[in-house]
Amino acid sequence: MDANSIKIVKPTNVIIKNPLKLLSGKVLSEYKLKYETYGSLNSDKSNAVLICHALSGNHHVAGYYEGDDKPGWWNNMIGPGKPIDTDKLFIVCVNNLGGCHGSTGPTSINPITNKIYGSDFPMMTVSDWVESQKELMDVLKIPFWKFVVGGSLGGMQALQWSFQYPKLIHNCIAIAAAPKLTAQNIAFNEIARQAIMKDPNWHNGNYLEKGVMPNQGLSLARMLGHITYLSDESMREKFGRDLKNSKLGFNYDVEFQIESYLRYQGEKFVTGFDANTYLLMTKSLDYFDPVKDMSDNLIKNLCECKSNFLIVSFTSDWRFPPKRSKEIVKLLLDNKRNVSYSEISAEGGHDAFLMDNKDYFDVMASFIMESSNGI
């Protein structure tokens, strides 16, 4: 166990009984949110931080579960003395609605039909997530977020927070994000969805009722996604053209290390992730376009937003490359907001936002430390 890590953590559940009106027009009459918190809320409630997770992430951001030797997904960033310092800050992370790690989602029971939601679970958008997280904020009696932080899809949620509740956020950190997806981004997502929906076990999304799983499709979707998270350089460095065995087999078995790695990633993923959630998350990414959705409201809200923004990108990220982050910067500059931007030299591709990198961590720590003066 990492000596500077938060130790044992436990998730909490809350049932929200306020009906949630979704962007699609549908309504979730009640729902469960699963979340974790680290550190403690100070007496004037000025140190709360919301961490937004990415496509396949969840509420387990840092620390260890009892008996588990693998920490939360951002344990390197969050903890005592780390850039997001749990000695000073109170961290909240919630499993997005529609997820498959404890919050209400496609694998939950629909209270109206008493059956598993499956494909009946309504489509979620980034703004719906913000609304649900606002409910949790009220439950926890948090008056404002000192920071809202996220990478990738989580970065988009952080931005959406500042657009949707401009007065409730003091600092926004969006890492490896984009103001909207490109045609190429959507194309990759669509292939991933097709892989799932073409699986013979798909059953129109109601596979759980049939007692089967579209694991072939889901693992294929993950393999494809995984390639877009890595960079050409990092794949070359890690795998090159290395073979599993010394000789070519002249067949279609796993021969190259990269094939073995991708299959492993795919197979590992299906043991902990739901196919309907994967579809929903990719679709909410595709739908994200706050500038178009909110048009004049966005500009009005941004004018009210006193938040400081930190936008971070990585040189080798080709999924949401630096130029996409610069579009966010431009949007904020056009609206005369306080924004800083850093383009970190990193070989890790899109996944660099999860990896150790001195410059990246220094930038985060500098911004967070300076912005948390007075806590």
Binding site: K330, S340, D359, D362, V363
Partner: protein
């Protein structure tokens, strides 16, 4: 850390409650002091990650952008002042950058080391090699300073491009003016600072 003397002059030229862009902002000290003393808002631009960290620690907005890629992201007259302190000589296309600065700023402030200073002239004349001075300590092959000019060069350039000089200040390295820098600025001035529109 001591405040750079040449920045004191620049900050004295900037009116309170204005918007400032500082190109090549280093550790952000100019913006920090302007924020504290004159309530200005603004951004620094630098392309060195260590300067980004230092600027963030100084609590100024800083953008990691390569100035050679231009300033298209800013709209017309977005700023009251655009500052380029002691960095003109490292820019790939100074004419283009100055034009961009004048587009996005109502006024610009530019300072640079004067290549026409007598010490540079004597070095070239007597030793026949490219001058290496305290301000410009690099050899010809490893210098980031690719567009050096003299005060006279700069004045000719301003005239050719219809840049209106509002104010100028020619000093030695310690920001001192004396009879020599007044009478023969191009021979005795080490740092030249111009306010232009």
């Amino acid at each position: 850390m001591a405040f750079r003397k040449d920045l004191l002059l620049i900050s004295s030229w900037i009116k309170p409650n204005t918007k400032v862009l500082d190109l090549g902002c280093g550790n952000g000290e100019l913006l920090k002091i302007l924020k504290q003393e004159k309530n200005i808002s603004g951004y620094g631009i630098d392309n060195d990650i260590d300067n980004i960290k230092l600027s963030l620690k100084n609590n100024v907005n800083v953008l990691q952008i390569d100035l050679d890629n231009g300033l298209e992201d800013f709209e017309f007259e977005y700023f009251d002042y655009v500052v380029l302190a002691q960095s003109l000589q490292v820019i790939k296309n100074p004419k283009e950058l100055l034009n961009q600065m004048l587009r996005i700023g109502k006024e610009i402030i530019v300072s640079f080391p004067n290549m026409g200073h007598w010490s540079s002239r004597i070095q070239l004349l007597t030793s026949g090699i490219m001058p290496v001075t305290g301000n410009l300590p690099y050899s010809w092959h490893d210098t980031p300073n690719i567009h050096l000019c003299t005060i006279k060069d700069f004045l000719i350039f301003c005239e050719k491009n219809d840049f209106e000089i509002l104010e100028k200040n020619i000093t030695d390295n310690n920001q001192r003016c004396n009879l020599f820098t007044k009478l023969m600025p191009n021979l005795f001035g080490q740092i030249a600072t111009f306010r232009i529109k």
